[in-house]
Symmetry: C2
């Protein structure tokens, strides 16, 4: 597995990584810990259509309201021509880092994700590492009132199969997306869901459209929840490509990002104006 | 206060009221009670613009997944020409019923909301009744693991003041909407919030537009959460009208309701298609 084409990791800059190491991410002050689920302070979405996969994530990480930083939540494991996995993570950063470190170590040694014969098996490999980290850290976390929280979305393809999309829970069990449920979310899911429900259809939505839906879904979430923030990472994977050629990071001032924000808001206002006006008949009688 | 023009109550049919009485709304099976907040199983929104108020609510009530019914969550207290209050309620139905019963009893006797000299005082009257019911019921609820949960949105106008919008918490304290925060939500708020954030502006949004935003916000919530459901109640109140002349109930098969659902979804898809396509440069180098 020393092939230089075998890559795993995240497109993060060295600066970001340095920042990551410098911050104690999991130190939540006690008033937060009782209700803090961790998963609500991130937003990641994976979309599966007949044409392929779209994966997108925000990059804001925080340990309390006054300790906010940038950290890439998107990670890839690639053997070009053979297998492509993209992972999106939410929850405690310390836990997802441990899971990824164990996955990367195995992958570099030709084990784990490097050997999984199917996407289902790859999801199980991730689930096993989530359970491994649970064994390591859960008792100490729960003793101090923290929940063991790490969720992973896995999108990708293993040669011999179609592309697939999974969500792996903190307990390690995997859930697969389906034609009728063609997207999966982790973290702060609700703000960004209506636009996906309205628009994503497995058989009809093109990858280009799915990418736009993912970006709008994240933008809607960022507007309503300050714990979700830029930069935004995006990967578009076409079925049977077996490599990642389309990936982008959008900073706050990215011209494309700004353009879709402005155009989207204008389109929504116009769409509302064009809806038929509500008609009221005579005032209805009150029954009491 | 025997003036026949003094009205309070809800536009519900006798059938609905009968149903209400027949069901034990608060009997949640124990597995639900620990995490059940009540407020997540309703959606009500009040919008305040320079032109007036829009109030809207769903009508689904449930005590567990298998005990779902219809109940109006919108209530009005009117002295034509003098004062108009519309109340939207979320939380435990038994609690909000008690609050309303106490408010109605006082109103009919020319006390409470019938006397409040300002909207702020009206919000305080409601808060006092919420605290009164808390004194009556909270200890017994908490002994069995239920949270005391009742939220009220109050919109209206008292002669001599401008129209206003308040949210009253289960603790009885009131929060006012403002020009910069011109809408208030209770219950399952997140799905329906992005469209309001994009569209509602105190100075620019007309009442007709605000009504459409409210309906779309509720429709977005219904699509994603089965505990929010039709019929939908809507009131549009123009500043200084001091009576309610525009109210509607939309059933699932209401032709207008169906029309805006279909047209809205079509408009969203078209708006996504018209967004600029995401451009990817050369594959960016991986840093590790």
């Amino acid at each position: 597995m020393k092939d230089p084409l075998v890559v795993c990791g995240c497109d993060e800059t060295p600066q970001v990584r340095k920042l990551q190491q410098a911050v104690s991410w999991d130190v939540l002050s006690p008033p937060f810990s009782a209700t803090f689920s961790g998963g609500d302070m991130t937003y990641c979405v994976g979309i599966m259509t007949r044409q392929g996969l779209v994966m997108a994530s925000d990059s804001r990480t925080n340990a309390g309201y006054d300790d906010v930083n940038v950290c890439c939540k998107m990670h890839r494991f690639v053997q070009p021509g053979e297998r492509v996995f993209t992972l999106l993570c939410s929850g405690s950063l310390s836990l997802s880092q441990s899971v990824l470190t164990l996955l990367e170590r195995d992958f570099q040694q030709g084990k784990g994700l490097a050997l999984a014969p199917t996407m289902y098996d790859a999801a199980r490999v991730i689930g096993e590492q989530i359970r491994q980290v649970s064994t390591l850290d859960r008792p100490a976390l729960e003793r101090d009132g923290y929940r063991y929280n790490v969720h992973v979305i896995l999108g990708g393809q293993v040669r011999g199969e179609t592309h697939q999309l999974y969500l792996i829970y903190p307990q390690g069990n995997p859930l697969s997306a389906a034609e009728e449920s063609p997207y999966l979310q982790i973290g702060e899911c609700k703000y960004g869901r209506p636009i996906l429900d309205r628009g994503i259809r497995y058989n009809r939505t093109s990858l280009e459209e799915a990418a736009k839906y993912a970006l709008i879904s994240i933008d809607s979430t960022m507007r309503s929840n300050v714990t979700v923030g830029p930069p935004i990472d995006l990967i578009v994977y076409g079925a049977d490509e077996f490599q990642i050629t389309r990936s982008r990071r959008f900073a706050t001032d990215d011209p494309y990002w700004r353009a879709i924000q402005v155009q989207w808001e204008q389109s929504l206002r116009k769409a509302v104006q064009e809806l038929p006006t509500v008609k009221f008949g005579e005032a209805e009688p009150l029954t009491r």
